[in-house]
């Protein structure tokens, strides 16, 4: 079924007309839009996941955040009310509610914890979205968004237990410092969040945050491959996930 749909898209060139964002993003990721099939250099996985070694995060470093927000045209409104963010720092106790106690190991409480969309295995945001503008890509589990389909009802924001999503309360374009023409900007009235850099994966590149981190605190890889970096790290370290009790199965793991 999948291949027949792709053939159809190839033939008709209708890929931009809202047949799901998958082909759209693939097109956008590659400049020459003649080929919709993934290029051979594309990174593929059964299940993408991220491991964050927050012990390596030095105070005050925002390299990963800047890299992500610049590449993805995330606006800076300069106020908290309209704020849009894909990846940012939180206090340990806020990222992992209930895990903090007065006698916790020195340094843990003070260390900034990097948070982003967890690309949940069982994502409530996908479940509640009334238009399938938010959806989980079947092939590798990335939770994606179609900005052209989103109606801005914000049900997904209510549904996400991690505060990972932001609403465009205003036109974001005037507030983007330097527009990256290779990635779409958003309009007012739609929701957005981290996309695990699908557009870079399609071009054979690792996520921007992972590449930007000089401290090697971020790892990205395929959970389906036992020899991947992330699987090795998960075997070697004790890791935790945010709010595991909710059954969302976050795919961002933390070494704390």
């Amino acid at each position: 079924m999948k291949s027949s749909r792709r053939t159809f898209l190839k033939i008709t060139g209708l890929s931009l007309m809202g047949w799901g964002a998958k082909p759209v993003l693939e097109v956008l990721a590659r400049n020459e839009s003649s080929k919709i099939l993934k290029p051979p250099e594309a990174l593929k996985a059964k299940r993408w996941a991220m491991v964050i070694n927050s012990r390596r995060c030095p105070h005050g470093c925002t390299d990963c955040i800047q890299a992500c927000h610049n590449i993805h045209n995330v606006p800076d409104f300069g106020n908290e009310k309209d704020e849009i963010k894909w990846i940012w720092h939180e206090r340990f106790g806020d990222a992992f509610p209930g895990q903090e106690h007065p006698y916790i190991q020195a340094g843990v409480k003070e260390r900034p914890v990097l948070v982003l969309c967890n690309h949940c295995e069982n994502p409530p945001c996908v479940r509640v979205c009334p238009t399938q503008a938010t959806f989980k890509r079947a092939e590798d589990g990335i939770v994606m968004m179609d900005y052209h389909r989103c109606i801005g009802c914000r049900f997904c924001i209510a549904g996400c237990p991690y505060g990972a999503r932001s609403m465009n309360y205003r036109d974001p374009r005037p507030f983007i410092k330097k527009i990256n023409p290779a990635f779409p900007t958003r309009t007012k009235g739609v929701v957005e969040k981290c996309n695990f850099c699908v557009e870079r994966l399609a071009a054979g590149l690792l996520p921007a945050c992972v590449v930007a981190c000089k401290e090697k605190a971020l790892f990205f890889g395929d959970l389906g491959n036992p020899d991947s970096d992330v699987r090795k790290l998960l075997r070697a370290h004790f890791t935790i996930r945010r709010k595991p009790e909710l059954g969302t199965q976050p795919q961002v793991y933390y070494i704390v």
Partner: protein, 385 residues
């Protein structure tokens, strides 16, 4: 029958003009919102649903409460409600219209609203809510209008209306149940994550809706020749009393579970509502006003002597309506977001344009209600004459 709308007293026309004024102001600010985005409201990254969605939630209740007159009349053949069923049904029509308008004004991309139909998504409660709300609207328009048209011609209503009426009874329950599911099914929003959300919604709806209906009956008696008589008003008053008692009882259940279990994530929202959290207390005075109004209404309603006094009953109904509007139209939605999943407390204050758009939708609702009631009452007056 619609021509009746065009003939009216001066008072009728001034009331219409008054509503049109508010509608106009609302439309003006809505156009500005379309231009600027929802950032024109007080909503923020952390509080993403507020006044608009709260009004929607409250009004679904008012709409559902029509069942409280339809059910006794059609199922139990309670004749005294014969005169007011049409008022209940038309109130439901106006309320559902307001609900739909509040959803539209809350959308970031209203031009794409039809995506709801183009990509039907049964896993989303909003999809089901759209179905039940529109179905309920249609049912009430068809039933109300057909029955009224037959009354005008003094013929019994056609046979096909009966099944529709029976369907409309569980359908009324469904609209508020589904609306409660929008909230009650979300992981990580502890304030809403409660199985008694739907029963609570229904109980409060069956208090606030009939309370409004009583007030409308009293107003109509004062300003038109249409008199419902004392009995239906008193029966409605008993319904309001029971529903209010159940509603308060259910809130009590909630408070017990939350505070006896002492799970911080559940307690924090209630603390924010009634005592304030870390110095943030925007809703505290409102919630205590709501408690006070509910208490006062309860005293007036439980005591048969005060309940039977129609002026005191009117006071009690205003108190019930006000109290439950604060609870649902103000407290319930916003507090689900405070504190946020990341523990942030972001206070929410509606902005001027947001309030005026809200008033505009309410005025639109009252406009629809006035038009429908005008038709209904003209027909009834004609029959009696």
């Amino acid at each position: 029958m619609l021509e009746k709308v065009l003939i009216g007293s001066r008072r009728y026309w001034s009331w219409i003009a008054f509503l049109v004024l508010f509608i106009g102001v609302g439309v003006f600010y809505y156009l500005r919102q379309l231009d600027y985005g929802l950032g024109i409201t007080g909503m923020s990254r952390n509080v993403t649903w507020a006044l608009y969605i709260a009004q929607f939630t409250f009004l679904v209740g008012v709409a559902a409460s029509a069942v409280m007159v339809v059910l006794p009349y059609y199922l139990h053949n309670y004749k005294a409600f014969g005169k007011i069923t049409i008022l209940g049904e038309f109130l439901a029509v106006a309320s559902v219209m307001m609900c739909l308008m509040f959803i539209i004004v809350d959308l970031g991309q209203p031009a794409r609203a039809f995506n709801l139909l183009i990509y039907p998504t049964p896993s989303s409660i909003l999809f089901w809510d759209m179905i039940v709300l529109n179905g309920y609207l249609l049912l009430n328009i068809v039933i109300g209008w057909t029955v009224l048209a037959c009354e005008k011609k003094s013929v019994p209503p056609p046979r096909w209306v009966k099944p529709l009426i029976y369907i409309s009874i569980p359908w009324a329950i469904s609209i508020h149940t589904v609306t409660a599911f929008i909230y009650a099914g979300l992981p990580g929003r502890s304030f809403w994550l409660t199985a008694i959300m739907a029963p609570r919604f229904l109980a409060s709806a069956f208090a606030s809706g009939p309370a409004l209906l009583i007030l409308l009956c009293l107003i109509l008696r004062k300003f038109t020749r249409f008199d419902t008589g004392k009995e239906p008003v008193q029966t409605l008053a008993k319904i309001v009393t029971y529903a209010l008692v159940i509603s308060i009882f259910l809130v009590g259940m909630e408070i017990f579970t939350v505070f006896y279990s002492q799970i911080p994530e559940h307690m924090k929202h209630f603390q924010y509502l009634f005592a304030g959290l870390e110095g943030h207390r925007a809703l505290v005075p409102w919630m205590w006003a709501s408690v006070f109004l509910a208490g006062a209404a309860l005293i007036l309603l439980i005591n048969p002597r005060t309940r039977k006094n129609e002026s005191l009953l009117a006071v009690a109904c205003v108190a019930v309506f006000g109290s439950l509007w604060i609870e649902k139209g103000l407290g319930l939605v916003v507090t689900g977001f405070i504190p946020s999943p990341l523990g942030k407390i972001t206070e929410y204050y509606p902005t001027g344009p947001e309030v005026l758009i809200t008033l505009g939708v309410w005025a639109m609702g009252f406009f629809i209600l006035t038009v429908l009631y005008k038709v209904a009452i003209s027909v009834k007056e004609e029959i009696e004459a």
